[in-house]
């Protein structure tokens, strides 16, 4: 009773317009209404699971015929494979190829999660800091450990730019160190911010659609931003993957 009256008051406060652009990012349990502990199946679980199914459909089921002349599905799978493979090869060189499955995993997860997030009413897992931070930190730690493992202490020379004049080198080294440790921050916030911003803006325009006079403009704006979001979904996955390759290249070849 009390909550109903509260809800009515809540709406009337905003004079007919209802803006809840951030509600779409709320994590909810799939079953019941209890507290969310680390193992609770939530909408995160659901949409990550759907991303896994999408990847299996895209890369496994579509290639089950192993046709020499590929069909539509198999062409997409081969295109995705070739795209990421060439990216890894171009950026990291031949010795980076053995890390291709890891980068492919990240790329396929992000691109599928981003596109699934574009389904109206869905939950965008990649718009969450917790998700992108885990991936960015995993990349950062892996690359750093790999760098020290492959090159020992001489990996530090990554920060000591021998091409620069000697007096400048300490300054550059400081800048390099700072930029190196900022990497996981920019790496994760870039993806999360892009995904969150687009979805929130769509929700804001959707809120304006309640006013009849503004509704057509609102619908047009939503369509335009949706189109932009399709582009962003792909580009952000690509950017995340290619930055991972660039960081990996630093670990493999630290001597510029």
């Amino acid at each position: 009773m009390a909550s109903e009256s509260l809800g009515a008051e809540h709406v009337s406060e905003e004079s007919g317009l209802v803006f809840h652009p951030m509600d779409q990012f709320i994590v909810k349990p799939l079953f019941g209404d209890g507290p969310i502990s680390w193992y609770t199946p939530t909408n995160v679980t659901l949409w990550m699971g759907l991303a896994v199914l999408a990847i299996i459909a895209l890369l496994v089921l579509s290639t089950s015929k192993r046709a020499i002349v590929p069909g539509r599905g198999q062409s997409i799978a081969e295109l995705a494979y070739g795209f990421v493979y060439k990216m890894v090869e171009d950026v990291t060189g031949k010795d980076g190829i053995k890390y291709f499955p890891y980068i492919m995993t990240l790329f396929m997860f992000i691109v599928c999660a981003n596109f699934l997030g574009l389904i109206p009413g869905s939950f965008t897992t990649t718009s969450h800091l917790a998700v992108t931070v885990v991936m960015a930190l995993a990349v950062f730690l892996t690359v750093t450990v790999l760098g020290f493992y492959l090159h020992g202490a001489s990996f530090i020379k990554l920060f000591w730019i021998s091409a620069a004049p000697l007096p400048l080198r300490p300054v550059l080294a400081l800048i390099e160190v700072i930029s190196y440790f900022v990497r996981p921050v920019s790496h994760s916030i870039r993806l999360m911010g892009n995904m969150m911003a687009g979805h929130a803006v769509i929700k804001v325009f959707a809120g304006f659609a309640a006013i009849t006079a503004i509704a057509p403009i609102s619908v047009l704006a939503i369509s335009a931003i949706y189109a932009l979001e399709i582009l962003v979904s792909f580009i952000q996955a690509y950017v995340f993957a290619i930055l991972t390759c660039v960081y990996l290249k630093d670990a493999l070849h630290p001597h510029h």
């Binding site: 009390a2 509260l6 809840h20 990012f25 994590v27 969310i36 890369l59 198999q74 499955p101 718009s127």
Partner: protein, 190 residues
């Protein structure tokens, strides 16, 4: 009841500071992305998801696609090699055909020349033979004509002599055959 009515007037910022992520209506307070209560859940499921994707990709999808691409590359290479082989064969066949054509042409020319020469020889022989025959025949004819002419001259002499003798006798003279003959011969010469 009392707590619910107080919650209604609580500032959202205060709720956020209190560590709450969702207000009483289930709406978001601030950015849900910064709700640390949900972090373990998201991280756990993300790790599960990434591990599953990695296993699926590295065990099934990527080796399979790599095999398909390698197989296609092999097929294409083989097909190109086969096509080049066939092309070389076609070129060889064309050369052989042209050679055969040239041979046939020269042979045909030789045959034509031979036939022409043979015909010419036959023709020459036939013409020679015909010429000889024609010459013989014309000589024979000339001889016959000469004979006939000679015969006709004699006959004219005889007829003239007879006619002259008859004329003389009809005129009442006495025809001396030697005189008549002499007179006729004399006239015929003149």
């Amino acid at each position: 009841m009392a707590t619910e009515t107080t919650a209604q007037h609580v500032d959202p910022l205060a709720l956020e500071e209190a560590g709450m992520c969702v207000d009483a209506h289930g709406g978001a307070i601030g950015m849900p992305q910064l709700c640390f209560d949900w972090f373990p859940n998201q991280m756990f499921w993300l790790v599960v998801t990434l591990v599953v994707i990695f296993l699926v990709l590295s065990r099934v999808a990527l080796p399979r696609i790599a095999a398909i691409l390698a197989e296609r590359q092999g097929t294409i290479t083989n097909d190109i090699a086969a096509a080049e082989d066939l092309k070389a064969k076609a070129v060889a066949a064309e050369a052989a055909y042209n050679q055969a054509l040239a041979d046939a042409r020269t042979e045909a020319q030789a045959i034509v020349a031979e036939a022409k020469a043979e015909i010419q020889a036959d023709l020459d022989v036939a013409i020679q033979k015909a010429d000889a025959e024609i010459a013989a025949k014309s000589a024979e004819s000339e001889k016959a004509i000469a004979e006939i002419r000679a015969g006709a001259l004699d006959s004219v002499k005889a007829v003239a002599s007879d006619t002259a003798a008859e004329l003389v006798s009809v005129l009442g003279g006495k025809a001396d055959s030697d005189a008549v003959n002499a007179a006729v011969s004399d006239r015929l010469k003149g």
